[in-house]
Structure formats: structure tokens, C-alpha cells
Symmetry: C2
Subunit: 187 residues, 2 copies
């Protein structure tokens, strides 16, 4: 493996309400220099939730995606509030987005969005032992809860409105976990 | 399913060399209005390649990710050049990044990066029947080719340097395709 490149300088080149772009100059171990740009998130991170309604059923949501300007079928997710624990963030988002709280939380992995261009990561957490509990979120309209059989994930992947890479990855990790081939960390 | 929100107005609020941020006001079908921001990519799209070195081995690369400021183990990928066909883009990126060309290309799915905040999508293409062929790319340093057994993907997912959600999703789609549970489209 290569030695990490040296960072020569960095500065913010664009900023909006939600996005900040950083430019930075790198010198690779072979002496080559390049200018990179990356998105740097504000905030305290984010969680993506694989909530099992029973042993064989996962809770999907159908929500409007402003990025793709269309409705999409994906997993519940949201930002971690300042000072909030990962477990509390998971349980709050679940109650806001699908009307359930959970009793068992298992951290599976932190996924990166685009390692080349974005610093963002999202913690994937499996939630089991759910019970109905609702919290008011900040959604512009109610999300549609779509229960989906874990045995029919291949049919989900074939749906045109299921496109989010991180959600498909989180479901693949869940399958490996449930098959005993991938370990998680209880929260 | 809800009726899509009406877009009231949109404009660019931040721009850098690589990133453009668009702000837009939406009115949802229930009358709620919200201001969204999203990243809008330039260019002609991107491809992510699941290149099979043999029936049981996929070609991974280890490359420096400017976004996460670390080396990462992921799939070959890159931008489609203006006017380039999807198949040609795949074959060029393969030759630049792993030193192989391919004879069989099967489109699996277009994955979205973050449906809520980004318009970007990436086409996932399975490539088989490879032969050695090198093209000069624009990498600052040579990429490391890491052959990985498809039977040990769960071990890959457990690696700390394998984090990219889209790559894990592409590998999961490949497994479903190879198991005959998911169909692709020959290019």
C-alpha cells in the first residue's frame, strides 16, 4: 500500500446553506501534485436504519428525494443531532419516520458516500424488537411505510424506484449478518 | 403514492470547479412548501465496473480517496466522456484502472448516490471475458489491483478500508445476477 499523500494546503471554495466545498493540494508519495475538491459535511453524522418488523420483514419508506426529484423506496435515515448518541439518533429517526421504537440496536458498518469526492459517512444500524411509538418529525408530508420480505430483496433491487446504493449495501450487510457471516456491535 | 411536488423556482446558489449547488422551492401535494438544496453534477454520468477476472473472482482496486483522505478498497469507476457510449466508457476505464479490456458487458442498474440531496447516478456494469490491455489514465499514481473471491465478499465487507456503499451494492447486485435472481441488459 502507498504512503498517504501529503496535504499542502486547503481552503473552502464554495458554500451554501447545506453544502461546503473544500479545495486542497496533495503531493503523492511519487512526487506528483494534484488539486482535489471534496464536499465536507456539517453536523454530527447520519444514520441509516435496517428496522426488522419481524424476523423476515424490513421496514422500507417511500419518500420524496429532492436530489432525484422523484419518490424513492429506501431505508429510513437521518442526521444525528448535536450531542445525541448514535442509539438515541436511531430510535428518534425510527419513531419520526416509521412510527416505531426499537429495543435492540446493532451497529453494522459506517458506509462512505463517495470516497473520492465526499467526506460523508453514514452509520448503518440494524434494529430489532420494535414497538409502536410515534414522534413528530420535520417531514413535509407523511412517509409511506412499505414492509418488505427479506426473502424478496432481489425483487426490490429490480424496482425502478429503489436506487439508493447505500440502502442496497445496508440490506446486503444485513443478509450477511443474519446468515452469521458478518458481525455487528450492539449499541 | 403521492403526486410529485410542484417546483416553484430554482437557482444555483454555489459553484466550484467540480460541484454545483441548486436551491429550489417545492410545494407538496398537501400544500406544504419547502426550500431544498441539491448537488447537480456536470458531465455525462459515470460507470462502476464489476469486472470478473474469472467465474469466482472480482477485480477490486485500492486507490486514494480525496473525500475520505485515505486509501480505500473499492470497484473501478469513472466519468463517461462527452459523446462516449456506456460500453466504450466501461472498456476505457477498465483499461486505464486495471489493465484489462472486456468482451462481455452487462448493465445491471443505475444507482443513486443520495436521492435526497444529489442528482448523481452511476451505472453499474458487469464485465466478463477479460484480456490484458492497458490505456494511460489520469491517475496521480498507479492503482493497486486486488483480486477478490466472490465467495469471500462477507470478508471484504468487514474490512475497514472497504466502505463505499455503491460498491457493496454493486457486488450484491452481481451476486443476485449470478444466482439467476436478477436480470441485466447486455450492452
Amino acid at each position: 500500500m502507498h504512503k498517504k499523500p501529503e496535504i499542502l494546503q486547503r481552503h473552502v471554495v464554495a458554500q451554501s446553506r447545506l453544502f461546503r466545498v473544500e479545495s486542497f493540494d496533495l503531493r503523492f508519495s511519487n512526487g506528483v501534485e494534484r488539486t482535489y475538491e471534496r464536499l465536507v459535511p456539517g453536523g454530527s453524522g447520519a444514520v441509516m436504519l435496517v428496522a426488522l418488523l419481524d424476523d423476515k420483514t424490513v421496514a422500507l419508506i417511500r419518500e420524496y428525494g429532492g436530489g432525484i426529484e422523484d419518490y424513492t423506496l429506501t431505508l429510513p435515515k437521518g442526521a444525528i443531532d448535536l450531542g445525541e448518541s448514535l442509539r438515541d439518533a436511531c430510535n428518534r429517526e425510527l419513531q419520526e419516520e416509521i412510527g416505531y421504537a426499537g429495543r435492540e440496536f446493532i451497529w453494522l458498518k459506517k458506509l462512505s458516500l463517495s470516497p473520492s469526492y465526499m467526506k460523508s459517512g453514514i452509520d448503518v444500524v440494524l434494529v430489532r424488537d420494535l414497538y409502536p411509538s410515534q414522534l413528530e418529525g420535520d417531514e413535509p408530508e407523511p412517509l409511506e411505510l412499505v414492509p418488505w420480505s427479506l426473502e424478496r430483496l432481489h425483487e426490490l433491487y429490480a424496482q425502478e424506484d429503489c436506487t439508493e446504493g447505500r440502502a442496497i449495501a445496508a440490506l446486503a450487510l444485513t443478509q450477511e449478518f443474519l446468515a452469521g457471516r458478518f458481525s455487528g456491535t450492539p449499541l
